[in-house]
């Protein structure tokens, strides 16, 4: 499993997975729905699965002497690491927003407090369930699972 996760980070991870970590700074935007900063992480995960399909990552991975179940586990574990990294990356900005920049309450959603992070964990859980359930039913047709149009609207 450790080697498969390493493979995911070296070969399957899309550059946007790392770039979108920097969007943690969005917690400094006044009067903004801060959960959107986590939304970009899910967009990066979608890109990772999309690029895996284009690079025939699953075809090559299935040639490895591992169980199919382990491939799924490695992908989901990698995604969980990216999600946790996102949450960790937002913490300094949340502290800044709640202390030095705490000039007014957020008018477009909750402030980045402990309750906010509870909702963020729930958000990632619901995303993982809906996305990966649909993705692994037909990995070659991942484009329809998460419409890019919806993200461009944001």
């Amino acid at each position: 499993m450790k080697n498969l996760v390493y493979k995911e980070f070296r070969l399957a991870a899309h550059p946007t997975n790392y770039i979108f970590l920097s969007l943690a700074f969005m917690l400094l935007i006044p009067n903004y729905p801060y959960l959107v900063s986590f939304f970009y992480t899910t967009l990066g995960i979608f890109f990772m699965c999309l690029s895996s399909r284009e690079n025939h990552d699953l075809d090559y991975s299935l040639n490895l002497p591992v169980r199919k179940r382990d491939l799924v586990g490695a992908r989901i574990l990698t995604v969980c690491i990216f999600e946790l990294l996102t949450i960790v990356a937002t913490i300094p900005f949340a502290v800044l927003r709640c202390t030095i920049l705490n000039v007014s309450a957020n008018q477009a959603g909750s402030m980045p407090s402990l309750a906010f992070y509870g909702i963020a964990f729930l958000y990632f859980g619901i995303f993982n369930l809906t996305f990966f359930t649909a993705y692994y039913k037909s990995p070659k047709k991942s484009a329809g699972i998460l419409p890019c149009r919806a993200h461009s609207d944001f």
């Binding site: 402990l114 309750a115 619901i126 993982n128 359930t133």
Partner: protein, 68 residues
Amino acid sequence: MSSALGFLIVAIDVVLSHAPVVKDVFLTTDGIHLAAKLVILFAGIIFGAGLTALSYKKGANSFEKYDL
């Protein structure tokens, strides 16, 4: 589907931060309502981890049946 649910959760977050009874929990950042915030945090962690475990189980079962 995933993005639609994402929008829904963002919308619920916005509504909760304006709801009369619970808005103080979501809009305050100091120690006020700490117990409620901790309950929401741990409930989120538990449900998030549970849903992720379920996604692994369902995803693995689907992928086992899928023939590339």
